[in-house]
Amino acid sequence: MTRANFIARRLLQTIPLLAAIMLMVLMLLHVIPGDPARAIGGIGATEEAVEKIREELGLNRSLPVQYLSYVGNALQGDLGNSTRSGRTVTSIIADRLAPTAWLLISGMILSIIVASVISVISARNKDTLIDYSMIGLTIAGISIPTFWAGLMLILLIALPTGLFPIAGFGDGFWEHLHSIILPATTFAIAISPVMIRALRTKLIDLYRQDFVMMSRASGLSEGAILYRHLSRHAALILITMISVQVGPMIFVSVVIEKTFALPGLGEALINAVSQRDFPVIQGITLVTALFVTFVHLCADILISFLNPKMVLE
């Protein structure tokens, strides 16, 4: 199979996937036990109010009709209106996108840096005290809840030094950057341990290979070996890990936004949940699912360039 074929096939595969994603998002309304409209309206809702919610959400129509109209509207960028504020879901999402994008991008960059540095140190010093302490840190990192890590950063760094804001997102580029440092660090504490596990194993394996020994014998410096021979393999592992971890990353960012009161999509989702605002919940779930699908697609395409053998056969 050629690369163009692979990419075309991979693109085609996303179409049924997107259809299924929208179906699952729609079904969220229908797993509510009992009458969804009544549940959304709350205990004190009048009969008319419940009927209005039913009307707005299209619950009085048959399921296939609901599905087709949801898909049709979504394709035109219409995800419905908030049942609380009446605003369009699309505009709510647009407003909330920036902090989440900041958190995801800065968190991911930091995670990759931390994971790469620790993995290289650990693999180069395999089975020494340094390696063991890195492994210990990794296990601790996997075992703590993300929001707790964030609170500990606030308690141990932000409160005593007063150097970092503990809530909010500020105004303008520099304030954004300043407010994102602790959240991004929390993100890296949550995400890099899993990357380290995979990367360390791969690097230990690579350092044992003949071509590394040969390069070393021929006088190539360790840095040059890392750059010339190992970086491509490391990049492959990292891309794969990002692809596998993108779901957890989104969850982690929801939790972090709540911890640091960042006004992003995750915080909007939690607010919508507490207000039983279903169109907003569905809209944000859909957007995150689209993002996951997009990242999976990009990762597969990148991998097909970095390691053609892995996917094209």
């Binding site: 996937l17 299924a20 994603i21 699952m24 969220l28 309304l29 797993v31 509510i32 036990p33 296990i139 601790a140 996997i142 075992s143 703590i144 809840p145 993300t146 929001f147 707790w148 609170l151 500990m152 606030i154 308690l155 409160l159 993108v246 779901g247 957890p248 989104i250 969850f251 929801v254 939790v255 709540k258 911890t259 989702l269 939690i270 949940v273 507490s274 919940i281 779930t285 995150t288 699912a289 993002f291 996951v292 699908t293 999976h296």
Partner: protein, 276 residues
């Protein structure tokens, strides 16, 4: 082959880290069962006059923002967090392992159905979906276990399918087939015993994940509902008092962390033990 493996395992002692892990786990179980019985407090009843008291001879770890004894809440939460996380990993393990075994062993349409369903779940931001699903079903332990099962079976199914595919081609399976055993019996008595160790190790790390997800959901307000003591919820309730009463947010996090480390140690130890 499985005979060879089991005698080997019987000879090798359990690695130290697994023993440490099991010891910590035993302490948690003891504390969770006995601790609340020995402390003369009501873990859920608010007593505003006693709120935010520092540690004393009556309240060893002080009281929380509603005047409840903090220690008893910390310990009684063991009865919530651990069983719920175990259940949320156990049901997907059973379902995922059965589906993965069938898909891997019988192949064809069973494999297509299971693999496609797994792809579908994995295309989702699964924990966000879990959050929304728990909310839609109504917050609480049962909803959490149902939603976790709907999502986490995929990991077990993939793992088991891979193991079964690998084992299916091995000689001892061909040998069993020659003896005329029915296929399902070969799968159950010859293939699965060799696939299960990996499942068990995965289960351990899944329990850690589930206890963290559960506490995160409670932190976000959709998990275990108040007044029931649950570590994530307790951390969230302690957040406003971070600068004045840090113990309220720190202690439940430590309980979660030590539990997670114990299970990670068990998982790593068992992995070495099964490989030995």
């Amino acid at each position: 082959m499985e005979q060879v493996q089991s005698t080997k395992a019987a000879r090798t002692p359990l690695p130290g880290k697994a023993k440490v892990g099991f010891a910590i786990l035993a302490i948690y179980v003891l504390l969770g069962v006995l601790g609340p019985m020995l402390l003369p407090f009501d873990p859920d009843k608010a007593n505003v006059l006693q709120r935010l008291k520092p540690p004393s001879s009556t309240h060893w770890l002080g009281t929380d923002q509603l005047g409840r004894d903090f220690l008893i809440r910390l310990l009684i939460a063991i009865r919530v967090d651990i069983p719920v996380a175990l259940a949320a990993a156990f049901f997907p393990m059973v379902i995922g392992t059965v589906l993965g075994a069938i898909a891997g062993y019988y192949g064809r349409f069973t494999d297509i159905i299971v693999s496609r369903a797994a792809d579908m779940v994995q295309a989702f931001p699964v924990y966000v979906f879990l959050l929304v699903l728990v909310f839609a079903l109504g917050s609480g332990a049962t909803s959490f276990i149902i939603a976790a099962t709907a999502i986490a079976w995929v990991g077990y199914a993939r793992l088991t399918r891979g193991e079964v595919l690998r084992l299916k081609g091995q000689e001892f399976v061909a040998a069993a087939r020659v003896t005329g055993l029915p296929e399902w019996k070969i799968l159950v008595t010859h293939v699965m015993p060799n696939a299960l160790p990996q499942t068990l190790i995965y289960f351990m790390s899944d329990v850690v994940l589930m206890v963290l997800v559960l506490s995160s959901l409670s932190f976000l307000g959709v998990g275990i509902q108040p007044p029931t003591a649950e570590w994530g919820r307790m951390i969230s309730e302690g957040q406003p008092f971070l600068h004045s009463h840090w113990r309220l947010a720190v202690a439940p996090g430590l309980m979660l962390m030590v539990f997670g480390i114990a299970l990670s140690l068990i998982a790593d130890g068992l992995d070495e033990w099964f490989r030995a």
